[in-house]
């Protein structure tokens, strides 16, 4: 046998395609503190992954705490950065993943997620007496829980045993099955197996099979949800302002979260973006952002005003640069149970003032539901488990968002033209235009107040909708729905065409019109295959039959040309 060589030779390494690895991760980076250079990229695994200069710079700064506040020992946090790599086309596995997973877990090819494990400990053997290093897992997948756990598992191994451990575990990951929603996945890594489950888009049942298949107490088998935010624990200090925050997030107001550690600000930013679930938050957001980031200038510009972004920051310098931002949440160093933040109308005084709180002059359109807040706060006193508290909070927010969206869903469905306006011989009609005033007219009979009548929430719904219509959240939602409607209309028109009597239609038509029709149908069949027009195979077959119907009516010379082209 030939595996006697003590060094793995180059050819063998090249044999690995890394296809399996890239289904899950983009790469793993090690960032160190170089006494000459500051933060510097030490190594990237697998070795072939090339990062752009700007990406490297951003990763390096985002991998380390950005302030003088400390973080001794080990710190974990989550970052999100622009994917500046040229190739934004998703892999086939990722497209199929996106079509099956819930929207909140979908891949956005413009951004990479980073899961950071930072270690800072005294080490007298080093020149400055400190060991400072980060391991960063970069991935397109927003699996905050799974990847944070994996990072917490592999980083200490790496600090202990060096690069060979990262090299070896990349080969483990290369063998992982692709991330398919709806299946239980076993992911072997460094002698343990992570068992996880990616939910399906329409499946709201919990992952019961996950708990079922494994014996408790077996430390080689690590069960974990891909995504899991303890909403209650994170939002607890701002709980009494939860409805105000929900409004700020749904209308995509700029928000900055200031904290003493990237751990705190990153989890708060993630929690804020989840407040409006199942609606996708479509503004930009950076769970942790530094003054060195390539988008620092763009975000802090006073000329253009604050963009619709949620930023998490730790550097006190931001108190000055983002002084003009309208909404600030300042987290305290002590995230104790009893902390309850006050609402303040003015921006935090620069630098000196460290009082935690929610700083905003925003006047909410809705009144808050004091009952739910009371209910959750009473759970704190009665020591209700965090999971139950989070579930209560999540359900309340879900009801609120759904009540807000249902009238819009209903209205947009009414923009569909009547069936009789669809003709086999004309282009598919377009949906009627979205008219805010028509929408507002529906509110009285079917507004959110109807579904929310057992809560205390009431107020100026029209005002809130108007503000929402100007937000990226609305634009993204509207575009998705509008595209769905358009495709549906095209499908209906194709269906009509597929059963139309074209032999009759060609009678007495000028040849040029008939040829035009042939080309149109061909074009439509082509579009069907290209786009996601929801038509079934039977209709496609029938369309092809109709096509031959017309072609057969044409003179032979034309027949040949049309059949070839």
């Amino acid at each position: 046998m030939t595996d006697g060589a003590n060094n793995v030779n180059e050819n063998e390494l090249k044999e690995t395609t890394w296809d399996g690895f890239h289904n899950w991760l983009y790469c793993i980076c090690v960032v160190t503190f170089d006494l000459e250079l500051g933060q510097a990229l030490e190594s990237v695994f697998p070795r072939h992954v090339a990062l752009s200069k700007q990406q490297i710079s951003n990763i390096c700064y985002l991998a380390f705490p950005d302030s003088n506040s400390g973080c001794m020992g080990d710190t974990t946090f989550i970052i999100r950065l622009q994917n500046s790599q040229g190739n934004k086309n998703l892999k086939e596995e990722h497209n199929s993943y996106n079509s099956k997973c819930p929207t909140s877990l979908q891949i956005d090819s413009s951004y990479l997620w980073g899961y950071v494990y930072f270690r800072q400990v005294k080490d007298v053997t080093l020149p400055r007496g400190y060991f400072q290093k980060s391991v960063v897992i970069l991935s397109l997948l927003p699996f905050n829980n799974l990847f944070s756990k994996i990072c917490s598992y592999i980083a200490p191994e790496y600090f202990e045993n060096g690069e060979v451990s990262l090299e070896a575990l990349c080969y483990n990951i290369e063998q992982w099955p692709p991330p398919v929603p709806g299946t239980t996945l076993n992911l072997p890594l460094l002698g343990s197996v992570f068992q996880t489950y990616i939910p399906l888009s329409n499946n709201h049942t919990s992952n019961s099979t996950l708990a079922l298949l494994s014996e408790p107490g077996d430390n080689n088998q690590i069960l974990t949800h891909v995504e899991d935010l303890n909403l209650f624990e994170i939002l607890q200090p701002v709980l009494s302002h939860i409805h105000l925050l929900w409004e700020l997030v749904i209308v995509s107001e700029p928000i900055v979260v200031m904290a003493s550690s990237p751990t705190y600000c990153s989890s708060m930013v993630l929690a804020l973006t989840r407040l409006i679930s199942p609606l996708q938050y479509c503004g930009d957001y950076r769970p942790y952002f530094t003054i060195h980031d390539s988008e620092f200038k763009q975000f802090t510009s006073k000329v253009h005003g604050p963009p619709p972004v949620i930023l998490g920051v730790t550097n006190p310098f931001f108190a000055k640069t983002l002084h003009h931002w309208p909404h600030t949440i300042r987290l305290s160093d002590d995230l104790g149970q009893s902390q309850r933040y006050k609402l303040k109308k003015t921006a935090p005084t620069k630098m000196v003032d460290n009082t935690p709180g929610v700083f905003t002059a925003y006047k909410p359109f809705l009144q808050k539901d004091k009952n739910i807040i009371k209910k959750i706060i009473s759970g704190v006193n009665s020591k209700r488990p965090f999971e139950a508290q989070s579930a209560l909070l999540r359900r309340h927010l879900l009801e609120l968002t759904q009540s807000f969206m249902i009238p819009l869903e209903r209205y947009i469905a009414s923009l569909m033209p009547l069936q009789k306006s669809i003709s086999p011989f004309k282009a598919a009609p377009t949906p009627q235009p979205f008219n805010p005033d028509n929408f507002f007219a529906t509110l009285e009979a079917a507004g959110p107040q109807l579904t929310l009548n057992n809560t205390g929430i009431k107020g100026d719904w029209v005002g809130l909708y108007r503000k929402f219509f100007r937000s990226p959240n609305f634009k993204a939602w509207f575009n998705t729905r509008y595209t769905e409607l358009t495709l549906k209309l095209q499908a209906l028109q194709l269906e009509a065409l597929s059963t139309a009597d074209l032999k009759d239609w060609v009678q007495g038509r000028p040849e040029v019109e008939v040829v035009d029709m042939v080309l149109k149908i061909k074009n439509k069949i082509h579009k069907c295959n290209e786009h996601d027009i929801p038509v079934n195979e039977r209709i496609k077959e029938q369309l092809n039959l109709r096509l031959s119907d017309i072609i057969s009516s044409l003179p032979d010379d034309l027949k040949n040309i049309l059949q070839v082209s």
Binding site: D74, T76, K149, S152, S165, S214
Partner: protein, 266 residues
């Protein structure tokens, strides 16, 4: 809930191919060369399996260790994929396979971690050894030095998984390259070594497949019986999802770790 579980068990059961269904306990290669004298499943195992009281998927972890190029990966490939190729590339770090069995109508999984024999991976091997219930020490019949090194390999592995009491197998590979007489001469020494290592001795060939299936059935039988005994003898409290909660707690601790006084290194 038990009903749901047994359905899942049944589903798992149906996936297992015929040659992975075990109904009789596999004995050792040589009765005189094993520390494990067990020849049948314990009565409790028979009883629990027939009562369908097994709610957890039984799972055991096995590691294969030994010198470079003794044929560790070949053992796994012969068993899991029924293939043999004398030109395997060397393992980088560790490979992983899961093999499903069905023992007395109960599903059982064997996790097989196939490690690299190279020196430069030794530093990380420790993490892969953790919690192994089976240690397979592989040596090459045609390379006697690889047998001598088994003691070192075992010590390293036991250093990590010492809390458990793993089953140890000493497995000679490339049996097809040996004439019968030479092997019989060698066997006296090998069996002595096995005794010192407190291991059960097997001789196999991945090329011809000789004894491979028997060896893995032996491993599966012993592990399965052992894990059922562990589950029912020790009255441990079993709560669904305990593992999930506890690992969450750890994560939270890390997550909420406080920042204390920054020492600026500039």
């Amino acid at each position: 809930m038990p009903q749901v579980r047994s359905n899942v068990m049944k589903m798992l059961n149906d996936e297992v191919p015929e040659d992975r269904k075990i109904t009789t306990f596999q004995g050792p290669y040589k009765m005189e060369c094993t520390p494990y004298q067990q020849l049948d499943f314990t009565e409790m195992t028979y009883r629990k399996c027939s009562e369908e009281k097994i709610n957890w998927l039984k799972l055991s972890k096995m590691i294969i260790i030994g010198d470079v190029s003794v044929g560790k990966t070949s053992i796994v490939n012969r068993f899991c994929r029924k293939i043999f190729d004398s030109n395997y590339k060397s393992t980088i770090g560790v490979d992983f396979e899961v093999e499903k069995f069905c023992i007395l109508d109960v599903p059982f999984c064997l996790q097989i971690w196939d490690t690299a024999g190279q020196e430069r991976f030794k530093s990380i091997a420790q993490s892969y050894y953790r919690g192994a219930q089976v240690i397979l020490l592989a040596f090459d019949f045609t390379n006697i030095k690889s047998l001598c090194n088994c003691r070192t390999w075992l010590n390293e592995a036991l250093g990590v998984s010492s809390s458990l009491c793993p089953f140890i197998f000493l497995v000679g590979t490339k049996l097809d390259l040996m004439s019968k007489t030479i092997r019989q001469n060698m066997e006296k020494n090998i069996m002595k070594a096995a005794q010192q290592l407190n291991a059960e001795y097997w001789a196999i060939s991945s090329k011809t497949g000789k004894n491979i299936d028997k060896l893995f059935c032996r491993i599966a039988s012993l592990c399965f019986d052992n894990s059922i005994r562990n589950e029912f003898q020790v009255k441990k409290q079993i709560i669904i999802g305990t593992n999930l909660l506890s690992s969450n707690e750890n994560a939270n601790q890390n997550f909420v770790r406080k920042c204390e006084g920054f020492k600026c290194s500039k």
